[in-house]
Symmetry: C2
Subunit: 152 residues, 2 copies
């Protein structure tokens, strides 16, 4: 069932199940998308600034999306990604780390110029098994409004 | 050869070669990382808001990184990703689109509290075959300084 702008509320929180990120997943993602030694070469990474392989920051961002989508996301609602603000990588992610995502809607704003739609602002936090935030960002997404959609 | 903070300059511009993003690549990335119908299901996507498959926004972000790394990036310099600001997806990317990346260093700032390092602020733009920006963001990365590194 689709959700419309009117169905989203400030303060709404969604929490993912935890998942373990394996060395194979870290290396596979990085080989395809971010092939830096620190993400793909165990020997070079061991001699590098973090003393071992770490996950690509882009993989953590993508993972935060995947966990949400796999859990059903916003259902049938097409939410169009507008952008990302204030993304910060706060802790390195190493093979075997367990990650989970928390998403909190911080604002729901109808467009003044196009009132058939609005913007959801969501604070996304990825935490590790020590409950340390490893990445945070603000996601901006566009969603349709019911009231105008119903008139269409 | 590593580059240090002192070797980076405001206004320095790097341009990638163009690459074609195929339908297979769009679907493969999304199946692994962002399995929404609009990215993985041709039939559902055709009936959706964009009239066909479009690439995951995270894939475009990762691609902008991959093009840079594959071209040599900053050489041997370990640049630690701090964060991303003002990321905006401006145009959809469809199968067969040709993408290229432009990176411009907008500032080079030595840390006041830890003068052995500094921050590079880089404006990243991904353009399509019509020279339209499809994605823009500001990347913040930490790099070591030579002067203090030489004393170590």
């Amino acid at each position: 069932m689709p959700r419309y702008l009117e169905d989203f509320h400030e303060g709404e929180i969604w929490r993912s199940a935890p998942v373990v990120l394996s060395e194979d997943e870290i290396v596979a993602y990085a080989k395809a998308n971010d092939p830096q030694p620190i993400h793909v070469d165990k020997v070079a990474a061991a001699a590098g600034p973090f003393g071992g392989l770490i996950a690509s920051g882009w993989q953590i961002a993508a993972l935060s999306m995947r966990l949400f989508i796999e859990a059903g996301g916003h259902g049938d609602s097409p939410i169009v990604g507008i952008g990302i603000d204030e993304l910060r990588w706060k802790q390195v992610v190493r093979p075997g780390d367990t990650l989970r995502t928390v998403r909190e809607i911080v604002s729901v704003t109808r467009s003044a110029s196009k009132p058939d739609r609005g913007t959801l602002k969501t604070r996304v936090t990825v935490l590790n098994q020590r409950d340390e935030p490893v990445m945070t960002y603000i996601a901006l997404g566009q969603v349709r409004a019911r009231t105008v959609a119903a008139q269409a």
